[in-house]
């Protein structure tokens, strides 16, 4: 019971975030791109988050920006996790030269500071949100590849896998029935915990001008645009910043909840015999 409450408390912010993302357009009080109001108005009843330098309602822009950021981050993490898992499992199964090459590529990526590499790649690709997502994805998959590979290597010599081979499973069936379900749990937890960090990095790239392009509302680029006003009109920066903080916190809580739920060493209130 206590555990269920804890789980609910962890899942609630993520659920709220999901609703805000799904219904961002409906929740917006105004058109996020309409320059219809007084510029740099302080938060008030009409504009709870104030307005920006071009006279756009900030609450509307934060909601739409949150949607952009969250969807881009989820796409990024999903792509990196899928590609990494596929590469890791394949490397473990193939072994030999394929394994060696894949792992050296991973080490090369991991040895380089991720954000710097992503910056270089994003600049090379030409900027814009899709390029930023691609660049971050290209530097974040090795983590998943190593995780999936080590888990697969640990599974392969077990009796359970030997028994499955004796049962007549082909390599494909072995992966689908026995290896992926095991690897997926760990990858999912890592991905959920990674989502917060990725969102920050994506916002960072946007902040540096390599992410979303105006007039697209995106939290990182909104903060970047308002940074010269931090001392005079702090709400221009604090609003998007608070949104990033809330989203990252929600993702981290979700990751923790998933880890607890999937960790075999955390008792799930189920009877363990023998």
């Amino acid at each position: 019971m206590k555990q269920n409450l804890r789980l609910a408390a962890c899942l609630l912010p993520a659920a709220a975030l999901l609703l805000a993302v799904l219904f961002a357009r409906q929740l917006c009080p105004y058109d996020p791109n309409a320059q219809a109001f007084a510029a740099l108005a302080a938060p008030s009843a009409a504009h709870p988050a104030g307005t920006d330098i071009l006279g756009r309602d900030l609450l509307s822009r934060i909601l739409v920006g949150l949607r952009t950021s969250v969807l881009a981050t989820l796409a990024l993490v999903a792509a990196a996790a899928l590609a990494g898992t596929a590469a890791g499992v394949a490397a473990a199964l193939l072994g030999g030269a394929a394994d060696a090459v894949l792992m050296r590529v991973c080490e090369l990526c991991l040895a380089f500071p991720g954000l710097v590499l992503a910056l270089g790649l994003a600049a090379l690709l030409g900027g814009g949100l899709p390029c930023a997502v691609l660049a971050l994805g290209a530097v974040s998959w090795p983590k998943y590849a190593r995780l999936a590979r080590s888990r697969t290597l640990a599974l392969l010599p077990t009796d359970a896998i030997a028994a499955a081979r004796l049962a007549g499973d082909s390599a494909c069936q072995l992966v689908v029935r026995h290896i992926l379900p095991d690897v997926a749990g760990q990858v999912l937890v890592t991905a959920a915990l990674d989502t917060g960090a990725m969102m920050m990095e994506l916002a960072g790239l946007s902040f540096l001008g390599l992410g979303a392009m105006p007039p697209t509302a995106e939290l990182g680029s909104m903060m970047s645009g308002g940074r010269s006003l931090l001392q005079t009109c702090p709400w221009v920066v604090l609003g998007p910043g608070a949104a990033i903080f809330a989203a990252v916190a929600a993702f981290n809580l979700l990751g923790e909840a998933l880890r607890d739920a999937l960790d075999p060493f955390v008792c799930q209130g189920e009877e363990h015999e023998a």
Binding site: T158, D159, A162, A163, G168, D169, H272, A274
Partner: protein, 252 residues
Amino acid sequence: MEPLLEVAGLCKPYPARSRTPLPAVRDVSFCLRAGETLGLVGGSGCGKTTLARLIARLAEADAGRILLQGQDITRLRGRALRPVYRRVQMVFQAPAASFDARHTLGWAVAEPLANAGVPRAARRAQAAQLLERCGLPAGFAARYPRQVSGGQCQRAALARALAAGPRLLICDEATSALDPLASAQLLELLDSLRRQNGLAILFICHDLALVQRFCDRALVMQDGRIVEQGAPTALIAAPRHPYTRRLVEAAL
């Protein structure tokens, strides 16, 4: 009569890639007839399990030959191994660890049936039948490996092995993790299966007394070699090799 299994000059070093590999199995030769129970005795680390995995073709030997019903299976790979797996099955030492914890016992028993092309509806009935034949009520099909005792789990492992319809069953210390009663029940079950279907059993064990009770013939293995073989009673009464003598003394 042609032997079911013929092993000649089998060798396997470990680890395979090391510069100074340690031979885990060296020049092992023996044969096994249908319906026969052959005991394989030896201390821990003497290469029993490696030999079992070589015969079951879960690993590949470096030298030597394995003939199963006259067919050379030593160098078969990939898809070609699947018919071999239908004829050779294995029951492992740790019952729960030989099951994927994510699937029920019924699912695991039905897996070989599914791979053999048995339709879904028939599969469930057959799996339940196999479990029942191994002394587990049909309700166990819905249980997970962690929800049953070691003995029950080992029976389910036996049911899964039988699902493939094997001619040779390798029991790799299958009773070591069980209490004496569960162990005796499993042996009884194995014996009745052997009598009913002419199943050949390679019974790997470190307990000489158990081998004497259960096996027609026994091999004694030390450091990867077969050092002595014969009827278990004779081996125990008059051991010729010093290692066998030590094993007998340790057992008494």
